[in-house]
Structure formats: C-alpha cells, structure tokens
C-alpha cells in the first residue's frame, strides 16, 4: 500500500538489541561532526604530520638512497621514544583544536531545543547517550592520535632491526595510554562545558579558557602563594607530566610526580562525568 494511504498502525516487526542503541547516537553524531566542510578539511590536514613521520622512517631505512643526494639523515633522525613523544605532542595539539570546534556541538543542539526528553522517554539511558556522543568524538580523535601512532610504530617495527621491537615495545603501550587519557579529558571536558553553557561557541571558548587561563591562573597561584598547588589546575602541565613519564623523557615539567598528575587527571575526568550526569537528563528538577 502506498505510504500516503496508510493510517496509524502499530509496529510489530523485530527490534534491534538493546545494547546496540548507543551506536545510533554515535552514527548520527559522527555525521553531524563531519557536516562542516572546513572541519573535514582540517581533519584531513591532521594526517599530514603522520605522513611526514612515515616518510622520515622510510628515509632512515633507505640511507643509501638518501646518501646519493648528500644528506646525512642519521645525524638528525632516530626513531625512538622522543620521536613518538613529539608525534603524540603534535597530534595531541591538533586533537585539541579539533575538539574545540567539534566537541561542544555534540550535546548543545539537543539541549538548546529541549530534545533530551525525546531521547530518554525511549528505552535508552543517559549513560548510553553519553557513551554514544563520546564515542563519536573519541573515534574521530583516535584516528589522528593513537591509530596513526601505532601504524608508525608497526612500520618501524617491521622495517627496523630485530632488536628494536624487543627494546621498544613499551612505546606502543605509551602511545595508546597517552592518547586515551588526552582523548578522555578532551571529550569529557568539551561535553561537560557544552552541557552547562548550552551554547556551542561559548563552550568552545570556555574549553580554550580552561587550558590557557587555567595554566596562567595556576602559575599565578604558585607565584603568589609560594606553593605548587597551582599546578593542579593547569591541565596542560598535568598532561605533559603524564606524557613525559609514559615516554620516559627526562624533562622536568613541574613539581608534580607522575602519580599525582595521573590522579589529578582522573579527578578532572570524574568531575566532568559528574557535571555531565547532572545536566544530561530529561528535565531538570529545580528544588
């Protein structure tokens, strides 16, 4: 029967499994994220540095070819923990920029026009909603951080000397861990901020503010109070401490130990989750 001739009728067909419903939110959110052409272009640009790194690895393992042109590549390049640390550092910065523009747009459209009751009047929980939204951004950021990082690691492991993998296998774990803590912080912070301010541009500005003004404010506290407690609100310093410890880079970022930085970052994640759960609900109860 033609669709326009039908009147109201109940649905009696099969249903999808309950666990898979968050993937619906993931799918629609990802589509919404990549709707902007400018962001798609930026997203493509994010793969340039990994390509450049792959070229470096290629050159290092083809010294005879490079030597023909008179370059001494070996003097400048070595594929070690520093190489992957700087790789994550650059890609992490790009992930931050990408999040600033895309992260706040995940939840704010739902909040702006009160769409949340329509999600939660269905057999769909708040945790599934957050998981769906977060996975859209997390997968996007994964594609420019740990996924190319592991690909580079695999290339190096396959073309490098045999002992390289045995000596450096921990770098692969560091790439994944360093990327995931950064992704978690970026996703949760951007979503929590957008849930609270409900306006994506303000949420984007706030995200920048949390990192840049947080760092400045932290330094000011340290200088005025003659303490190191200000480092706790400097997220970029916390993440740098964690990364340097993960990649075993002997640089002193601040006074904080790696364990303290991990704890502080996990507390930040916890606070963001708490804020999200407070705001992401069908209706707010005003007591």
């Amino acid at each position: 029967m033609a669709v326009y001739k039908r009147t109201y009728r109940r649905y009696t067909g099969e249903l999808t499994p309950a666990w898979s419903r968050f993937l619906v939110v993931y799918r629609y959110s990802r589509r919404a994220l990549l709707r902007s052409r400018l962001l798609t272009v930026f997203y493509v640009l994010c793969f340039f540095y990994p390509l450049f790194c792959a070229l470096e690895i290629y050159l290092l393992h083809n010294l005879d070819f490079v030597a023909k042109y008179g370059f001494d590549v070996e003097r400048f390049l070595s594929i070690d923990n520093k190489f992957f640390f700087y790789f994550i550092d650059v890609q992490g910065a790009l992930a931050f920029i990408l999040t600033t523009f895309t992260g706040p747009g995940l939840i704010s459209p739902d909040l702006a026009n009160g769409a949340l009751p329509l999600y939660f009047c269905r057999p769909f929980s708040r945790a599934e909603y957050i998981a769906g939204k977060m996975s859209a951004l997390a997968l996007l950021l994964s594609q420019i951080t740990w996924v190319p990082g592991l690909i580079l690691f695999s290339i190096q492991a396959s073309v490098g000397p045999r002992h390289w993998l045995a000596e450096n296998w921990w770098i692969a774990a560091s790439i994944v861990l360093a990327s995931w803590i950064w992704i978690a912080i970026l996703c949760l912070l951007s979503m929590a901020l957008s849930a609270w301010v409900k306006w994506r541009f303000v949420a984007g500005a706030l995200l920048l503010g949390v990192f840049f003004f947080g760092a400045g404010f932290g330094h000011a506290i340290n200088a005025v109070m003659r303490t190191d407690a200000g480092d706790l609100i400097d997220i970029s310093s916390l993440i740098a401490t964690v990364w340097t410890s993960l990649f075993r880079i002997p640089i002193e970022i601040g006074s904080m130990s790696a364990g303290e930085a991990w704890t502080a970052l996990l507390v930040v994640c916890g606070i963001c989750l708490f804020l999200l759960m407070r705001k992401v609900r069908a209706y707010e109860v005003i007591k």
Binding site: R9, L15, T16, Y28, P123, R281
Partner: protein
C-alpha cells in the same frame, strides 16, 4: 465495559465492577521537589482508551506524566503502566509508550524525517523500518511536503505535528500527549483532535491527553482525571456522566403559572422557573410523560424540552470548588 475506571482519592469511591486491565495504575504516588510536595498520595486505576488529565496550571499534570515516564522518582508509592512497574520495568514501559512533550523538543538542524528516523531507531526499530515509519508518521500528521525541511524552520503548528509524529513513529501502545494543542490555531487544533481520535481508534491503542483546555479533553477523551494542587480531586467517566445527567431537564413553557410548578414539585421534582424557562431535576420514578400530562391538564404549552447535561466545564468547576 472496557472503559471502567477507578479513582480512589479524596473521598472518590470506585465503581463496583472493575474488569479490564488498567492502562495506568497509581498506588500512593507522591513526588517531592526539595521541601515541596508536588504530587500527594495519588491512587487510581485508569482503564479507558483515551484518558484526559485535567487541572489548572501547577496542578501536577506534567509532573505525573514525567513520573510515569521515569524522569522523576516518586518518594513513596509506585505506578504501573500496562501492567509494568515504573520502578523495576522502566525500559519495557518506555518501549511501549510514545511521548509528546509540552515544550519545544527537536534538533533544529535536522530534517524532520531524519529526526524521526533517529528517534525510531532509538526505540529499537531497524534502520530501514525506522525510515519507513518516519515517512508514514509524517504523512499521517500532514507534514509530508515539509518532511525534508529542517525542523528549525517549522512554524509552531508544524512543530506540534512533528512532535506528535515522533510520538507515534515507533508504533507504541500508549501515547502520552502533554498539551497537544498548545499554540495551535482553530483549524490546526481541529486537525490535532481528529488525529488523536484516529490514533485511539486502533483497538490496541490508548491515549493520555494532558491539558488545561477543557474542550480538547472533552473532544478526545472518555475518561477524565482532575488534579488540583497535586491531589486527585475528581475522576469522571464522561460517557457515564452524560448518561447520568439525563434527569436534568430544561423546558421553555408558555402559559405556566404557580399551579404548574407546584404540581411538578408535588411529584417530588426540584423545580425553578425564570420567565418562560423552567429547570427541573426529575425525581426517581417520574417520567417525562408525567410532565406532559401535567402541562396538558393545565393548558401549558411546552415549546422546547432539553436534557441538560453537565459540560466538562461544569464538572471541572465543581471539582475546583472541592
């Protein structure tokens, strides 16, 4: 009969025969926000195909709906929808219910069809079925021409229709409509009422219409629950009420004098006359032909005789006075 209902609160006695399974069953439901009691010990069983929730602003209608949908937790008591408990079986309830909220609820940058498709998929429909149902629902509510337009560009009336469409797209068994005719012009209101009637005509469908507009409820519902300050003040089965009011008569008479009214009162009827209009409540055992007989004996001409039934407005105003 299938529309029997029971309401036990504030001294309202339930009808004796209760046979059909309740659509909504409240058992001492109380909801409190901070120190404020919003719903107080609501107990009732509603069995109708179309149930009206009435009450003045702030009576707790929307809070009751939100509690039934699990958005608010009751501080005491519980409720069951189609036999499922709201505390322990919320996911099943949500899969059986379609909800049209009172306020704006949409994503402005999405087209109506993709918005409905997404929500239907969240209700568990496979992607292709969800798309088909989204198209059907939009055709059903009359938004077929505008279904690819972004929701942000819709007029208020179109947004209301889109909200109705999303409430029915996944084919629920119970549709809860919160102020469905808000902001609609008379033509659009008529259309909404017609759609609600059409939805409830499905043999397995139940509709709850929450409104403070009496006419909407009167036009769509056969059962009415009236709330006031978080309490049930009146339950009414409109069909039964209409039948019960067949003993209230309004007559237009010529040539009547005191003798005629006295004769009527001697039959045990209550009677009041103003100019040519006579209002009376027939006593038990008195039939209309007795009135005609008395009129013929006294040469009183009856020009018009109406059964005056209580409108929902009368019922509502009486409930508000309690």
């Amino acid at each position: 009969m299938s529309t029997e209902a029971t309401a036990i609160s504030a001294g309202i006695e339930p009808p004796a025969a209760v046979t059909a399974k309740p659509v909504i069953e409240l058992e001492g439901v109380s909801v409190r926000f901070g120190q404020r009691d919003i719903l107080q010990n609501l107990t009732c069983k509603l069995r109708g195909k179309s149930i009206g929730l009435l009450g003045p602003n702030g009576a707790g209608k929307t809070t009751l709906i939100n509690t039934l949908l699990g958005f608010y937790k009751p501080v005491s008591g519980t409720a069951r929808i189609l036999g499922h408990d709201i505390q322990s079986d919320l996911k099943t309830i949500r899969s059986l219910v379609g909800y049209m909220p009172e306020n704006d609820a949409f994503i402005s940058k999405m087209s109506a069809v993709s918005f409905l498709r997404m929500l239907a998929e969240l209700s568990g429909l496979p992607s292709e079925a969800a798309l088909e149902r989204a198209h059907e629902a939009l055709f059903f509510v009359g938004l077929s021409e505008a279904r690819y337009r972004k929701l942000g560009t819709y007029s208020l009336g179109m947004k209301q229709m889109a909200k109705l469409a999303q409430a029915i797209a996944h084919g629920p068994r119970l549709v809860i409509l919160d102020e469905p005719t808000n902001g609609l012009d008379p033509v659009a209101r008529q259309r909404m009422v017609r759609l609600i009637r059409e939805i409830r005509s499905d043999p397995e469908m139940h509709v709850v219409v929450c409104s403070h507009l009496l006419r909407d409820v009167e036009d769509c519902c056969e059962e009415v629950l009236i709330l006031k300050q978080g309490r049930i003040v009146h339950y009414s089965n409109l069909e039964e009420e209409r039948r019960a009011n067949r003993r209230f008569l309004e007559l237009e008479v010529y040539g009547a004098n005191g003798d005629f009214t006295e004769a009527i009162e001697r039959l045990g009827c209550e009677c009041a006359i103003t100019a040519n209009r006579l209002k009376m409540v027939l006593a038990d055992g008195v039939e209309i032909r007795d009135i005609y007989r008395l009129a013929a004996e006294r040469e009183v001409r009856i020009r018009r005789l109406n059964f005056r039934r209580d409108t929902l407005e009368d019922i509502f105003l009486r409930a508000m006075e309690t």
